[in-house]
């Protein structure tokens, strides 16, 4: 009896909490599917008006280059991830399995760098890029993130678990260190690499701070900065279009999350640093 009651209370509390969590998403979609005239009738019930929705989405796409923002997001996230992985994998392998002078101090610097947030480096990086005339470029948006000390740290831990006997055997068979790293050791660490990939893409797709600093040209803006431009252009005049824009920008990460729930949760919570 008390068990059933406890269960009922737990479900009610969870349900109310979840409703609060999901309310913004529901409201966003609801408004995107509403004609501007209906905005003043505050109601949480769906009234699917597809003509109005088409209007809202078209307006969002016409006011600002929404497709361009998304493309910029893909370019920036893809570029960052590709370089991060290409740099971190050999470095992590060397730190985990090779003996070379300076290995311990280098690892100590990597661990120390883990604690430094990007925002602390933004000012000197901005001045440097500005001096070099590189502001308003994809390169400027990506370069601070090319080195992920977190990826090096994570992959080093993962590579350390790879059996040394197999590496020695491969060496005797004439494999180069490069082949051992990319062909053998990496194969055992795919879960770590894919979790890192999720972490990196989510973090950079959603990042506003750095793009806001180095990009003023709207045609280079990634989605969050584009959303900010859009919100300023609309300045609250047309909520339907604004919510349609917000839905478009949020959709890629939210849909990927719904499709690959486990990988997303593992990737994002892996670090604790967002």
């Amino acid at each position: 009896m008390t068990r059933a009651l406890g269960r009922w209370i737990a479900l009610t509390v969870l349900g109310l909490g979840a409703a609060a969590m999901l309310l913004p998403f529901w409201w966003m979609l609801l408004t995107a599917f509403r004609a501007p005239a209906d905005i003043f009738h505050v109601s949480l019930l769906p009234a699917l008006d597809f003509a109005a929705a088409a209007d809202n989405f078209a307006r969002a796409a016409a006011q600002v280059p929404m497709a361009r923002f998304m493309l910029n997001g893909v370019i920036v996230c893809g570029g960052i991830l590709a370089v991060q992985v290409a740099v971190a994998i050999p470095a992590a392998y060397a730190l985990a399995k090779l003996r070379f002078p300076g290995r311990e101090p280098l690892f100590a610097v990597v661990v120390a760098a883990l604690a430094v947030p990007m925002q602390a480096l933004a000012l000197p990086l901005f001045v440097g890029l500005s001096r070099m005339g590189l502001l308003d470029t994809y390169f400027a948006m990506m370069v601070p993130f090319f080195l992920s000390v977190f990826a090096i740290f994570l992959l080093r831990q993962s590579f350390r678990g790879y059996p040394d006997e197999i590496i020695d055997a491969a060496r005797l068979d004439g494999f180069s260190e490069w082949e051992i790293c990319w062909g053998l050791v990496l194969r055992g660490s795919w879960p770590a690499v894919s979790a890192f990939a999720v972490f990196s893409v989510v973090a950079h797709w959603n990042d506003l701070y750095w793009p806001m600093i180095v990009v003023s040209d709207p045609s280079l803006a990634p989605p969050p900065l584009g959303m900010l431009f859009f919100a300023d252009v609309e300045s609250g005049a047309n909520y339907g279009a604004l919510m349609a824009g917000a839905a478009m920008i949020t959709a890629p990460m939210v849909l990927s999350f719904l499709l690959a729930r486990r990988q997303f949760i593992a990737g994002i919570t892996m670090s604790g640093v967002k």
């Binding site: 509390v13 905005i39 990086l125 440097g128 500005s130 989510v202 806001m212 729930r261 640093v273």
Partner: protein
């Protein structure tokens, strides 16, 4: 027979022309070279430059720059805008840290007991973590609108006056803190769920036999102490996130009505007003706060991975 046995190693030695140590050293240095170059260019040099800037009155584009010693830091500690930003950030953190941690724990405890519906709850609470905060802040702005937002519709339906959440100066930081909690609860829930699965079942059974009949007793005697390390980690990550609050300010208030936070003030000084030297000093003060918190986190991360 003797000949072949002898020729074995002599043939093998030139085939592996370099001994293993040389080979490892060469490959190791080569493999870390790109990382070392990037580490120098995007971490070490910028940190040194930042420290240098903080001692000057450098302004981006200015013709002359003077060494001013610690004047920037002295100015910061007397700058009403910066002090207000620090106070705002502290208030924000004081709401988000307990709110985010305890709600995350509460949800995790409730979700853990569910079997069939567990994945649904996980998705519902984790969704805000993945969503682009800039876009969702725009949605919140609309939700909290005094006349056409549903939150105020509910408030007026209950017979109260509508609340201008984003136009009443003293409500700005608490409102943004609510959004901060909304975004972080799911993240903390997942960390707590991981902590809860690591508590051995037998402990609950033992506590029950020892007379901890009520679930609350068992929570206090078993779950809470066993969750200690997880809780510490969650508190640290939540604090770091809270001290870095920026997006909601940039979207919802633009820092007006005295609602700037540390990072937003730093952004304005450094990138809008081009007070590079002064902003560098502010960055160092910001860094001190975050470093103090991050060191705890890094130590934990190190240990967690080592003992896995």
């Amino acid at each position: 027979m003797t000949l072949t046995a002898l020729s074995g190693p002599t043939v093998a030695a030139p085939a592996r022309r370099c001994p293993r140590e040389v080979r490892e050293r060469r490959a190791g240095l080569l493999f870390v070279a790109p990382a070392v170059l990037l580490l120098a260019a995007t971490y070490v040099v910028p940190m040194a430059v930042l420290a240098g800037f903080s001692l000057t009155d450098y302004r981006l584009g200015a013709l002359t720059t003077r060494f001013v010693g610690l004047a920037n830091f002295a100015h910061a500690l007397a700058d009403p805008v910066f002090l207000r930003a620090v106070a705002n950030t502290a208030l924000y953190a004081a709401i988000v840290i307990p709110g985010g941690v305890f709600l995350g724990l509460g949800v995790a405890l409730l979700v853990e007991g569910r079997r069939r519906s567990r994945s649904f709850w996980e998705v519902a609470y984790f969704l805000p973590v993945t969503a682009t905060l800039v876009a969702m802040a725009t949605v919140w702005q609309f939700l909290l609108h005094p006349s056409i937002g549903p939150v105020n519709a509910a408030i007026t339906a209950l017979g109260f006056d509508p609340v201008s959440f984003l136009a009443t100066p003293w409500l700005l930081i608490p409102t943004m803190a609510m959004i901060g909690i909304w975004q972080i609860v799911g993240f903390n829930m997942v960390l707590f769920l991981a902590g809860l699965t690591n508590i051995p079942r037998d402990l609950h059974e033992a506590a029950r036999l020892d007379g901890a009949k009520h679930p609350i007793d068992r929570f206090l005697t078993v779950t809470w102490p066993m969750l200690g390390p997880t809780t510490l980690f969650v508190v640290v990550t939540t604090s770091i996130t809270a001290f870095k609050v920026f997006e909601t300010v940039a979207v919802l208030t633009h820092g007006r009505s005295g609602s700037e936070t540390m990072l937003y003030d730093l952004y304005l000084e450094g990138f809008e007003y081009a007070n590079t030297g002064y902003a560098s000093a502010l960055t160092i003060l910001f860094l001190v706060v975050v470093l103090a918190l991050s060191i705890g986190q890094t130590v934990h991360l190190d240990r967690r991975v080592h003992y896995r």
